[in-house]
Amino acid sequence: MNLDDRLRAASKALKESSVAQIDAASRLPEILRRTGQPLDRPEDHERIPQPAPQRECSR
């Protein structure tokens, strides 16, 4: 495998692993709280929409 292929494979793996391993939802309440707009009701948490299907970006 040449360098370009290795770099692309490592990048793809890191992005996929990040999406799989990073818990974004757990940090969202803190972001909202620090801006003075807390999600302080359980029903608000439940209404947080799920992310849309991933779109691949093109160069």
Partner: protein
């Protein structure tokens, strides 16, 4: 091919995406980008959170930009002062940490981890250029806009970075590669 970096071309007529949707989709990817450059999941998450906090505070405007994704990446990768402060906090925590690595890394296969380890040995600008070009699949023009550098500078840094990585990784360079 997009040429902008998300700072212009507001779209007054379109419906802005809700912040929560944008955040949940993009936050892990921004953490991945920063982790690739820094090697610390904790620092990457902290910096990504700061970036999205800034985005949320100005979401009415940022959500109408032509490319909010590019905006958060530009902010994330250029927050050097915050990098330093986060690193200092991280090092303070490390004094008491026994087994840091396992907890502080996004788990990758050894071959991929070796590539990112090599990228982190490059000078900062070269590492940023390589990360944006390969991880984000950015063109030279997009990398230049994100880092505020001339396209010629980015091409040169990409070239030098690739040569160094080829030596470090024992890989062959492909002169017909993505430039």
């Amino acid at each position: 091919m997009r040429q902008d970096n998300g700072d212009r071309d507001e779209r007054p007529g379109s419906t802005p995406e809700p912040f929560e949707v944008f955040y949940l989709r993009e936050y892990p990817k921004v953490v991945g980008l920063l982790h690739g450059l820094l090697g610390s999941r904790l620092v990457a998450e902290e910096l990504a959170q700061e970036t999205f906090l800034v985005a949320y505070r100005d979401w009415d405007r940022i959500s109408r930009l032509d490319d909010p994704r590019a905006w958060v990446r530009k902010v994330a990768i250029n927050q050097r002062g915050s990098f330093l402060r986060a690193y200092l906090r991280q090092q303070t925590r490390e004094r008491d940490a026994v087994a840091r690595y396992e907890e502080d890394s996004i788990k990758l296969a050894d071959d991929h981890a070796e590539v990112w380890q090599a990228i982190r040995t490059l000078p900062l600008l070269q590492a940023q250029v390589i990360a944006l070009h390969y991880y984000e699949d950015y063109s030279v023009a997009q990398v230049a806009a994100t880092l505020g550098r001339a396209p010629g500078t980015i091409k040169a840094q990409l070239h030098h970075g690739r040569r160094k990585l080829a030596r470090l990784l024992g890989a062959e360079t492909d002169r017909w590669s993505s430039l």
